[in-house]
Symmetry: C2
Subunit: 137 residues, 2 copies
Protein backbone atom coordinates (compact mmCIF):
# COMPACT_ATOMS: atom_id res chain seq x y z
CA UNK A 1 0.00 0.00 0.00
CA UNK A 2 1.31 3.43 -0.98
CA UNK A 3 1.16 6.06 1.76
CA UNK A 4 -0.30 9.46 0.99
CA UNK A 5 2.17 12.31 1.04
CA UNK A 6 1.87 16.03 0.52
CA UNK A 7 3.39 17.53 -2.63
CA UNK A 8 5.94 20.36 -2.49
CA UNK A 9 4.72 23.90 -3.12
CA UNK A 10 4.40 24.73 -6.82
CA UNK A 11 3.70 27.83 -8.85
CA UNK A 12 0.99 30.28 -7.84
CA UNK A 13 -1.42 28.93 -10.50
CA UNK A 14 -0.74 25.36 -9.34
CA UNK A 15 -1.35 26.35 -5.72
CA UNK A 16 -4.53 28.33 -6.40
CA UNK A 17 -6.13 26.44 -9.26
CA UNK A 18 -4.42 23.06 -9.28
CA UNK A 19 -5.71 19.69 -8.14
CA UNK A 20 -2.77 18.58 -6.04
CA UNK A 21 -2.49 19.27 -2.33
CA UNK A 22 0.71 21.27 -1.83
CA UNK A 23 0.31 22.81 1.62
CA UNK A 24 2.29 25.84 2.65
CA UNK A 25 3.74 25.01 6.05
CA UNK A 26 5.03 27.90 8.15
CA UNK A 27 8.57 28.38 9.47
CA UNK A 28 7.83 25.78 12.15
CA UNK A 29 6.53 23.25 9.63
CA UNK A 30 2.91 23.77 10.66
CA UNK A 31 -0.35 24.57 8.93
CA UNK A 32 -3.49 25.93 10.62
CA UNK A 33 -6.48 23.59 10.74
CA UNK A 34 -10.02 24.74 11.57
CA UNK A 35 -12.25 21.94 12.84
CA UNK A 36 -15.95 22.41 12.13
CA UNK A 37 -18.87 20.22 13.16
CA UNK A 38 -20.03 18.76 9.84
CA UNK A 39 -23.67 18.80 10.89
CA UNK A 40 -24.11 22.08 12.76
CA UNK A 41 -21.27 24.05 11.10
CA UNK A 42 -20.18 25.21 14.55
CA UNK A 43 -16.48 26.01 14.72
CA UNK A 44 -15.11 23.66 17.32
CA UNK A 45 -11.41 24.54 17.54
CA UNK A 46 -8.40 25.79 15.67
CA UNK A 47 -5.18 23.77 15.88
CA UNK A 48 -2.10 22.95 13.84
CA UNK A 49 -0.79 20.05 11.79
CA UNK A 50 2.64 19.20 10.52
CA UNK A 51 3.05 17.05 7.41
CA UNK A 52 3.00 13.84 9.41
CA UNK A 53 -0.17 14.78 11.28
CA UNK A 54 -1.86 15.63 7.98
CA UNK A 55 -0.77 12.38 6.37
CA UNK A 56 -1.93 10.36 9.38
CA UNK A 57 -5.27 12.20 9.31
CA UNK A 58 -5.77 11.29 5.67
CA UNK A 59 -4.62 7.71 6.20
CA UNK A 60 -6.77 7.02 9.28
CA UNK A 61 -9.80 9.25 8.75
CA UNK A 62 -9.35 10.67 12.26
CA UNK A 63 -7.94 14.09 13.09
CA UNK A 64 -4.30 14.14 14.19
CA UNK A 65 -2.67 17.41 15.20
CA UNK A 66 0.73 18.67 16.28
CA UNK A 67 0.64 19.86 19.86
CA UNK A 68 2.82 22.95 20.11
CA UNK A 69 2.69 22.95 23.90
CA UNK A 70 3.66 19.30 24.25
CA UNK A 71 5.84 19.12 21.13
CA UNK A 72 4.27 15.87 19.91
CA UNK A 73 1.78 14.33 17.52
CA UNK A 74 -1.64 14.12 19.04
CA UNK A 75 -4.64 12.00 18.13
CA UNK A 76 -7.47 14.29 19.16
CA UNK A 77 -9.71 12.41 21.57
CA UNK A 78 -7.25 9.65 22.39
CA UNK A 79 -7.76 10.22 26.11
CA UNK A 80 -11.04 12.20 26.14
CA UNK A 81 -12.91 10.01 23.67
CA UNK A 82 -13.66 13.10 21.57
CA UNK A 83 -12.30 11.50 18.41
CA UNK A 84 -12.91 13.63 15.31
CA UNK A 85 -13.93 11.49 12.35
CA UNK A 86 -13.16 13.28 9.10
CA UNK A 87 -16.09 13.85 6.76
CA UNK A 88 -14.21 16.19 4.45
CA UNK A 89 -11.00 18.22 4.33
CA UNK A 90 -10.88 21.47 2.40
CA UNK A 91 -7.92 23.70 1.60
CA UNK A 92 -7.93 27.42 0.96
CA UNK A 93 -6.78 29.41 -2.06
CA UNK A 94 -3.13 29.76 -1.09
CA UNK A 95 -3.04 26.35 0.61
CA UNK A 96 -1.90 27.68 3.97
CA UNK A 97 -5.03 26.67 5.88
CA UNK A 98 -7.15 23.53 6.16
CA UNK A 99 -10.81 23.17 7.04
CA UNK A 100 -11.85 19.87 8.62
CA UNK A 101 -15.51 18.88 8.58
CA UNK A 102 -15.78 16.38 11.41
CA UNK A 103 -18.14 14.25 13.45
CA UNK A 104 -17.09 14.13 17.09
CA UNK A 105 -17.39 10.97 19.15
CA UNK A 106 -17.82 10.77 22.92
CA UNK A 107 -19.71 13.72 24.34
CA UNK A 108 -19.34 15.68 21.09
CA UNK A 109 -17.12 18.34 22.65
CA UNK A 110 -13.59 19.43 22.00
CA UNK A 111 -12.27 22.04 24.42
CA UNK A 112 -9.81 21.13 27.17
CA UNK A 113 -11.72 23.46 29.51
CA UNK A 114 -14.66 21.04 29.33
CA UNK A 115 -16.78 23.18 27.05
CA UNK A 116 -18.20 21.87 23.79
CA UNK A 117 -16.35 24.45 21.70
CA UNK A 118 -13.26 26.59 22.22
CA UNK A 119 -14.91 29.88 21.20
CA UNK A 120 -16.99 30.40 24.33
CA UNK A 121 -16.34 34.12 24.82
CA UNK A 122 -17.15 37.17 22.73
CA UNK A 123 -15.91 40.72 22.84
CA UNK A 124 -18.44 42.68 24.85
CA UNK A 125 -17.14 46.22 24.96
CA UNK A 126 -14.38 48.51 26.13
CA UNK A 127 -13.78 49.60 29.71
CA UNK A 128 -13.27 53.23 30.78
CA UNK A 129 -9.54 52.55 30.62
CA UNK A 130 -9.74 51.17 27.10
CA UNK A 131 -9.34 47.49 27.99
CA UNK A 132 -11.35 45.16 25.77
CA UNK A 133 -13.87 43.19 27.82
CA UNK A 134 -15.20 39.69 27.13
CA UNK A 135 -18.47 37.97 27.99
CA UNK A 136 -19.39 34.31 27.87
CA UNK A 137 -21.58 33.45 24.88
CA UNK B 1 -12.46 59.26 23.60
CA UNK B 2 -10.32 56.43 24.92
CA UNK B 3 -9.06 53.99 22.29
CA UNK B 4 -9.51 50.29 22.83
CA UNK B 5 -6.31 48.38 23.41
CA UNK B 6 -5.50 44.75 23.98
CA UNK B 7 -4.27 43.71 27.42
CA UNK B 8 -0.99 41.84 27.93
CA UNK B 9 -1.12 38.08 28.42
CA UNK B 10 -1.91 37.08 32.00
CA UNK B 11 -1.98 33.84 33.93
CA UNK B 12 -3.47 30.68 32.45
CA UNK B 13 -6.70 31.08 34.50
CA UNK B 14 -6.97 34.71 33.40
CA UNK B 15 -6.46 33.73 29.77
CA UNK B 16 -8.89 30.81 29.81
CA UNK B 17 -11.59 31.97 32.21
CA UNK B 18 -11.09 35.72 32.46
CA UNK B 19 -13.14 38.53 30.97
CA UNK B 20 -10.34 40.61 29.49
CA UNK B 21 -9.08 40.17 25.96
CA UNK B 22 -5.38 39.33 26.21
CA UNK B 23 -4.53 37.88 22.81
CA UNK B 24 -1.52 35.68 22.33
CA UNK B 25 0.26 37.06 19.27
CA UNK B 26 2.84 34.83 17.59
CA UNK B 27 6.52 35.57 17.08
CA UNK B 28 5.56 37.87 14.20
CA UNK B 29 3.03 39.75 16.31
CA UNK B 30 0.08 38.13 14.55
CA UNK B 31 -3.04 36.26 15.59
CA UNK B 32 -5.15 34.01 13.32
CA UNK B 33 -8.63 35.26 12.50
CA UNK B 34 -11.34 33.06 10.98
CA UNK B 35 -14.05 35.03 9.17
CA UNK B 36 -17.46 33.37 9.11
CA UNK B 37 -20.64 34.52 7.42
CA UNK B 38 -22.88 35.43 10.36
CA UNK B 39 -26.01 34.26 8.58
CA UNK B 40 -24.96 31.06 6.76
CA UNK B 41 -22.07 30.06 9.08
CA UNK B 42 -19.95 29.43 5.96
CA UNK B 43 -16.24 29.88 6.60
CA UNK B 44 -15.20 32.66 4.26
CA UNK B 45 -11.47 33.02 4.85
CA UNK B 46 -8.65 32.74 7.36
CA UNK B 47 -6.30 35.69 7.75
CA UNK B 48 -4.15 37.40 10.37
CA UNK B 49 -4.30 40.49 12.54
CA UNK B 50 -1.67 42.36 14.47
CA UNK B 51 -2.65 44.41 17.53
CA UNK B 52 -3.29 47.52 15.45
CA UNK B 53 -5.54 45.66 12.99
CA UNK B 54 -7.52 44.21 15.88
CA UNK B 55 -7.88 47.57 17.58
CA UNK B 56 -8.98 49.21 14.32
CA UNK B 57 -11.47 46.39 13.74
CA UNK B 58 -13.00 46.97 17.17
CA UNK B 59 -12.97 50.74 16.77
CA UNK B 60 -14.54 50.80 13.29
CA UNK B 61 -16.73 47.68 13.24
CA UNK B 62 -15.12 46.62 9.96
CA UNK B 63 -12.54 43.87 9.57
CA UNK B 64 -8.94 45.03 9.25
CA UNK B 65 -6.17 42.50 8.73
CA UNK B 66 -2.40 42.45 8.45
CA UNK B 67 -1.35 41.42 4.96
CA UNK B 68 1.71 39.21 5.31
CA UNK B 69 2.39 39.28 1.57
CA UNK B 70 2.19 43.07 1.31
CA UNK B 71 3.48 43.85 4.79
CA UNK B 72 0.74 46.36 5.53
CA UNK B 73 -2.56 46.93 7.29
CA UNK B 74 -5.47 46.08 5.07
CA UNK B 75 -9.11 47.09 5.26
CA UNK B 76 -10.77 44.03 3.74
CA UNK B 77 -12.94 45.17 0.84
CA UNK B 78 -11.40 48.60 0.47
CA UNK B 79 -10.91 48.02 -3.26
CA UNK B 80 -13.29 45.09 -3.92
CA UNK B 81 -16.24 46.49 -1.97
CA UNK B 82 -16.37 43.25 0.03
CA UNK B 83 -16.28 45.10 3.36
CA UNK B 84 -16.82 42.78 6.33
CA UNK B 85 -19.05 44.37 8.94
CA UNK B 86 -18.45 42.82 12.33
CA UNK B 87 -21.46 41.24 14.02
CA UNK B 88 -19.46 39.55 16.77
CA UNK B 89 -15.87 38.67 17.62
CA UNK B 90 -15.13 35.55 19.65
CA UNK B 91 -11.85 34.37 21.12
CA UNK B 92 -10.80 30.83 21.88
CA UNK B 93 -9.72 29.22 25.14
CA UNK B 94 -6.03 30.10 24.98
CA UNK B 95 -6.70 33.41 23.21
CA UNK B 96 -4.51 32.65 20.21
CA UNK B 97 -7.33 32.66 17.65
CA UNK B 98 -10.23 34.95 16.82
CA UNK B 99 -13.55 34.14 15.18
CA UNK B 100 -15.23 36.97 13.30
CA UNK B 101 -18.93 36.73 12.54
CA UNK B 102 -19.39 39.11 9.63
CA UNK B 103 -21.83 40.43 7.08
CA UNK B 104 -20.15 41.01 3.74
CA UNK B 105 -21.01 43.98 1.54
CA UNK B 106 -20.70 44.14 -2.24
CA UNK B 107 -21.19 40.78 -3.90
CA UNK B 108 -20.87 38.94 -0.58
CA UNK B 109 -17.64 37.21 -1.55
CA UNK B 110 -14.17 37.30 -0.13
CA UNK B 111 -11.60 35.35 -2.15
CA UNK B 112 -9.06 37.10 -4.35
CA UNK B 113 -9.58 34.35 -6.96
CA UNK B 114 -13.10 35.68 -7.48
CA UNK B 115 -14.86 32.90 -5.62
CA UNK B 116 -17.26 33.57 -2.78
CA UNK B 117 -15.16 31.64 -0.25
CA UNK B 118 -11.51 30.65 -0.05
CA UNK B 119 -12.17 26.97 0.73
CA UNK B 120 -13.28 25.90 -2.75
CA UNK B 121 -11.37 22.61 -2.97
CA UNK B 122 -11.57 19.41 -0.96
CA UNK B 123 -9.27 16.43 -0.69
CA UNK B 124 -10.56 13.85 -3.12
CA UNK B 125 -8.19 10.91 -2.81
CA UNK B 126 -4.67 9.68 -3.31
CA UNK B 127 -3.00 8.96 -6.64
CA UNK B 128 -1.15 5.74 -7.44
CA UNK B 129 2.04 7.57 -6.56
CA UNK B 130 0.67 8.69 -3.21
CA UNK B 131 0.06 12.33 -4.12
CA UNK B 132 -3.01 13.82 -2.44
CA UNK B 133 -5.55 14.92 -5.05
CA UNK B 134 -8.05 17.78 -4.78
CA UNK B 135 -11.45 18.39 -6.37
CA UNK B 136 -13.51 21.56 -6.58
CA UNK B 137 -16.41 21.57 -4.14
Amino acid sequence: MISAHVSPQGTKPAIEEGLLLMPKFDANGLITAVAVDARTKDILMVAHMNAEALEKTIATGQAWYWSRSRGMLWLKGETSGQIQTIEEIRVDCDQDCLLLLVTVAGDGGCCHTGRQQCFYRRIDGVSDEGAIRLAFV
